[in-house]
Assembly symmetry: C2
Homo-oligomer: 369 residues x 2
């Protein structure tokens, strides 16, 4: 957050009510660099950017009290995540992220310091991924702080949710459940401090905090495999793909609906995050359950023809990314089953829905139209 000082000189303790929207906008503008392909950046009626023949676009919102709480960790991670959730969407389409616009709704008592930290993370993540912030909007709100990021990407060969065939393997990248395991501790008072160390332990009473920190980080600063989807699309290896934002069970059902197939999952094959497993021993939630149902791992869910699995693994090795076949798509109406040994049982997704459970503080990405 050391580069927060860049920008117009504003008292960092001042609130939005004091500096006003215009003052804040001027300040933020001066912090945003002009990247390649940006003909008109922030400061005009609209931005103008160089695009290819095909442009990808996705929008995602983080709402305070629904998707994050300020006290959970450093503010810059909120800014990073606001971009990351959209990066994950573009990556799952095999696109290259290019340009972002950022809409902030801020309560009047929000400080310049907080917005600066949020932008530190957002601009840091932008720089890491070659994204240029080209515009945005600042509004006051009587409600919670809200960050809406719309991300444009470029694509050529796209990965779609439709296209999974009966007989395709259900494959996931990475390990699952870390983000949801981290969330369960955040909800019980554990806090991530500055510089990535443990802030408050909350209910955690384990020996070494490495597993805990890993899961907190997975929840607060997710790292989707941003280039893997593109490699898969170039080599025409998979039939369908989507990112795992709502949890394996919920997202797999979504993929089944998009492709008009059913699927089963082998419970014994799930790549349960080892840190989530360690936390289970130390008072955490059921690691198998969070791997199956927990959201926000932002890994990829893939439909892979069986004869392409070896090629998939060859690509994954290059990216040092675990890939695991966890089940199979089958003919039939969209629906899920779980296989335990020889038994097959109906599997109900448990992904969270905010409206149906308004009392819950469960963090979860929003539904995508």
């Amino acid at each position: 957050m050391s580069d927060s000082a860049v920008g117009t000189a504003l008292d960092r303790a001042a609130t939005m009510a004091e500096v006003g929207e215009r003052g804040l906008v001027r300040h933020l503008r001066s912090r945003i660099p002009v990247g390649p392909g940006v003909l008109v950046g922030v400061g005009d009626d609209a931005a103008a950017v160089e695009t290819g023949a095909l442009t990808l676009v996705t929008t995602d919102v983080l709402v305070e009290g629904v998707h994050f709480r300020r006290e959970w960790g450093p503010a810059n991670l909120i800014g990073r995540k606001a971009l990351t959730v959209s990066l994950s969407d573009i990556a799952a389409m095999a696109g290259i992220p290019r340009f972002a616009v950022v809409s902030l709704c801020l309560p009047p008592d929000t400080t310049v310091e907080f917005v600066d930290s949020l932008y530190d993370g957002l601009l840091e993540r932008s720089a890491e991924t070659g994204v240029s912030v080209v515009g945005g909007n600042v509004s006051s709100t009587p409600g919670p702080l809200t960050i809406d990021v719309t991300l444009l990407g470029q694509g050529d060969r796209l990965l779609r949710r439709e296209g999974a065939q009966p007989g395709d393997l259900v494959v996931v990248t990475g390990m699952l459940g870390g983000a949801a395991a981290g969330l369960s501790f955040l909800l019980k008072g554990t806090r991530l401090g500055a510089e990535g160390i443990l802030g408050e332990a909350g209910t955690w009473a384990g020996a070494a905090p490495d597993s805990l920190l890993s899961c907190l980080r997975a929840q607060l600063d997710p790292t989707p495999p941003l280039a893997f989807g593109r490699a898969l699309a170039e080599h025409d290896i998979v039939h369908a793909a989507m990112d795992l934002s709502d949890g394996l069970s919920g997202d797999l059902l979504t993929l089944c609906h998009a492709s008009d197939v059913s699927a089963w999952v082998d419970g014994s094959a799930l790549p349960v995050d080892p840190c989530a497993a360690q936390l289970e021993k130390e008072g955490g939630t059921d690691a198998f359950s969070v791997a199956l149902h927990g959201g926000e791992d932002y890994q990829l869910l893939l439909a892979v023809p069986p004869d392409a699995l070896d090629r998939l693994k060859d690509v994954a090795v290059v990216w040092d990314l675990p890939v695991t076949a966890v089940g199979e798509f089958a003919a039939g109406p969209p629906g899920l089953s779980m296989k335990f040994g020889d038994r097959m049982k109906r599997l109900r997704p448990k992904s969270h829905e905010h409206f149906k459970d308004p009392g819950s503080r469960r963090s979860d990405p929003s539904a995508e139209a």
Copy 2:
């Protein structure tokens, strides 16, 4: 709103808490048509759209209680305006609007009926302007209803805010003050009913409601000159342009800053909206003041070389659009003066800033980064 019935069968009285995000998203998806140039529309990780070499992008948010109140008028007008404010931005850059993504944050008690009406207006406005809704996001919020629209457009020759020269005329399109005059009545209890008739009169006690309805409509359903900017860009007539969203005084100062010039305005030349003037006689606010400072007319503010004024008027005749020279740009640091006869006086913008006046219910567009 007769086409609200289109979509998945949902109980229109049901709340978001009852149908859930996924239920609502499925319902909205089924209502959104796939337009030209849309390769992947709603329902995947990201949309994929055909774009030219240059893409314009703008984002705008409407927050309940800040930018609108549900009781002011029919819900479909909220959806129309959510798109219109972004249409105005693309038009002010001389772009053609193409694709929109819509991010909705909804309180749990929002009904399907309300969201459907909102989408009626949004989709109606989209169809009128050749825009395809290609994606979006639905999230719950513990705060106010929020609609964030990001609009992509295509452009070639762009109009910019920078480029005004000393000696250029300050020109505005249309008549000014109608939207702000309408707002002042809405804030005092006047309501627009269904089918465009007067709902509640509030403090209005005039003879015929035509002027009132015109101003209410200007506030609730603005109609920016969407094609005029393109015509100007094609004929290379103006040096700079922006849309009038925050009010002439505030926006002119913004244009001065972007172009590094000053400007003066001739008070006697302002094209005061005749309906706003009529309302002043009937208990409304000072029509001159709302024409000078009031926001949301969504007309164009232009910097026009004096020898191009006749050509500008020739184009304006085609569009049946009033154009009025109201002042002149001058050398010097950014700042405004007002001319009354032979006297020149410093002019301070009075555009509203939400944060600085949190108690106000003044509706006004958000600051743009």
